[in-house]
Amino acid sequence: MNAIRRRFQPEQVRELVLIALIIGIIIFFGTQIENYFSPRTFTRISTSVAVVAIVAVGQTLVILTRNIDLSVGSIVGFTAYVVGTYLAANNDLPPALAVLAAVGIGAVMGAFNGMVVAYGRVPAIIVTLGTLAIYRTLLVEISGARSVLTSALPRWLVNLPPVNVFSIGAIDIRLLFAVAVLVVIVFQLIVTYSAWGRRLYAIGSNPDAARIAGFPAQRIVFTAFVLSGALAGLAGFVFLARFGNITVVAGQGIELQSVAAAVVGGVNINGGIGSPFGAFLGALLVDIIDNSLIRWLAISEFLRNALLGLLILLAVATDTVIMNRLRKLWSRHELQVATGQAPTEKGKGHRAV
């Protein structure tokens, strides 16, 4: 037991708690919905979570530094529209270039956010709330009320959503889902093992200490926003592939979905705690609940949103209770080690974190 305690921190166990919650929810809906345990359900949920999962990873990087990016929904819509329009006019553009363009446009928009937040020292919520409207209005202006039309897009793009990377038995792993998973893995490794990634946590936990310690805090915050924008751009490309017809309202509301996914996934809104993998699990949890509720015959359309909110609250509350218990366990142990005492009634007073 002690070895386990030394090996893991409560924050690392948190992901296991989320996975347990997800399994619990799946088992519950399995008893309620006919044919729920089928490869089809996996395909439905995995394809539907891809866009938000990619955005949530970028959002996590920003939130870790004690900032927030509310402009991601507009960036998704803007890149989907611009890249779509260009592809519709130039059907022979190489796919790799199209993806690169989407990521690039997103990165530029993120860089603007990052510049104003990091170097202009304007609160991120104000800046990105502003760019949320500015990017959307820019889209309305350049669109001239024309939509991107599925029939004008190159065939490879329209036929992208059903493409399988590989199958495990009857379970298909779709390309767009694989892209999202790859993004999660890459950024999970970056925040865990790279110096840049560790500094994200340092800055979010204590910005003043990080600055005094000599971290290039501004540059790191700036980079986090650039990456958040770039990932939103990538998500914009996925959005374009999935829906084909793109109007000026594309991607509206994704900013709050991504914040919700991150928070449900254990990313602390005050920075310093959380991980891309956690945000992915958060996005998955919300999406499973949402997609299951619309298939649950017992629930009317009008109750669904309320129930979705209730289930998310329940999940987060359960998670919080379990995490608090775990932290108490850990701190009691640390207290033991520090003072060499057995846990006594007196020790209880010091447990709170």
Binding site: I125, L132, S143, A145, S147, R242, V248, I269, I294
Partner: protein
């Protein structure tokens, strides 16, 4: 830790409040239009007599949507034909700010000397007080595409089609796609509180009660909130829920396109067809490959043209806005103001009819 979570939650709450509160202030659309409107202020001081020119505003639900721009083309055509020397402005809110933005534009127009406004209302009855204030200030208020439900503050609603006819057209398309033996279908609508969609679905349900439509069974009505993502997921959920469903009827342009793309992506087009109200350009691909063999729509260019004629004639006093009045609307011919049978109160001018699109005519219309 618990305290921190609470802090996080309250922060989230604050975000949403801020989002709701700040967005109108940031959206530049109404402000950007202000200088143009100010320029027309001087001549508008005088009452709008014939030949003086009537400054007019055409307001869509929000900017950036093709059909509303088509309506503006139609209104502009009428504007030039009639030779109104004043300005016709196309003013609308940005998408994320539709409801508050519409009310703001209407209120501003009242103070800026605009003499007639044509509104595709997206704000329900919330816009009624501003519309009444505009009426009291002597402005002509006409709605098109989507009316003010209570009709308060509105003189006439220019209806695209008879809402009851929409029900018949949808039922007929369902019968034509499902064949003689009929079958089961579901409706994928916009949001649960969209006034026109709800009226059309109610009309569809009434039509289905007639004996000749007895073999059509409506399984469920679901809502995609006019978002691609929600509509796409809802369409697939319908397929999963009802294995014997053969048709999804979507009386919304966003819903029908998203549902058709979902069926195409999952290879379900042979099993489940899609129909409803759609834009030829957006539906071209799906109509030609058989995913959405038939759908219907009216001309938004004509709707804008007719709305302009009604608003101009009311503003110049050529029309009084009472039941039974008949007038000539340029190239579109003769129309009559009548009581609106789809609402408790209010008058309407009915345009009609529907065009039903299939593989034979969709390509020409998509250009």
């Amino acid at each position: 830790m618990f305290k921190q979570s609470l802090k996080g939650l309250s922060l989230l709450l604050i975000f949403s409040v801020l989002l709701a509160a700040c967005a109108p202030a940031v959206a530049p659309a109404p402000q950007a239009a202000a200088p143009e409107a100010a320029a027309t202020e001087a001549p508008a001081e005088a009452p709008a007599a014939e030949g003086e020119g009537v400054p007019m505003v055409l307001m869509p639900k929000f900017l950036g949507i093709l059909v509303f721009d088509q309506a503006y083309q139609g209104a502009l055509e009428a504007h030039n034909e009639i030779g109104n020397p004043a300005q016709l402005q196309f003013l609308g809110p940005t998408p994320e700010n539709s409801v508050a933005g519409q009310i703001e534009i209407l209120t501003n127009a009242t103070t800026q000397g605009v003499k007639a406004i044509m509104i595709s209302n997206n704000a329900g009855d919330q816009i009624a007080p501003a519309a009444k204030a505009a009426r009291e200030a002597g402005m002509t208020v006409v709605t098109w595409d989507s009316p003010i439900p209570s009709a308060e503050g509105e003189q006439v609603f220019v209806a695209q089609v008879d809402f009851d006819e929409t029900g018949t057209v949808m039922a007929d398309m369902a019968r034509s796609i499902l064949g003689e033996d009929g079958g089961k279908f579901a409706v994928l609508s916009a949001s649960p509180d969209a006034a026109n969609q709800n009226a059309w679905i109610a009309a569809l349900q009434r039509v289905l009660e007639q004996p000749e439509y007895a073999n059509l069974e409506l399984l469920e009505i679901v809502y995609g909130n006019d978002q691609s993502e929600d509509s796409y997921n809802q369409a697939l959920a319908l397929v999963d829920k009802y294995p014997d469903m053969e048709l999804i009827m979507a009386p919304t342009t966003v819903g029908i396109a998203a549902a058709a793309k979902a069926m195409q992506d999952e290879g379900l087009c042979d099993q489940v067809k899609v129909s409803g109200l759609g834009l030829p350009a957006e539906m071209l691909e799906f109509t030609l490959n058989g995913c959405a063999p038939e759908f219907a729509l009216w001309s938004f260019v004509d709707l804008g043209y007719l709305a302009y004629h009604v608003a101009y004639k009311l503003a110049t006093g050529e029309l009084q806005g009472v039941e039974g009045e008949t007038f000539e609307a340029g190239r579109m011919g003769s129309y009559t103001i009548e009581k609106d049978p789809t609402r408790e109160a209010g008058l309407r001018v009915l345009m009609g009819p529907f065009t039903v699109y299939d593989a034979s005519n969709v390509e020409a219309a998509a250009q």
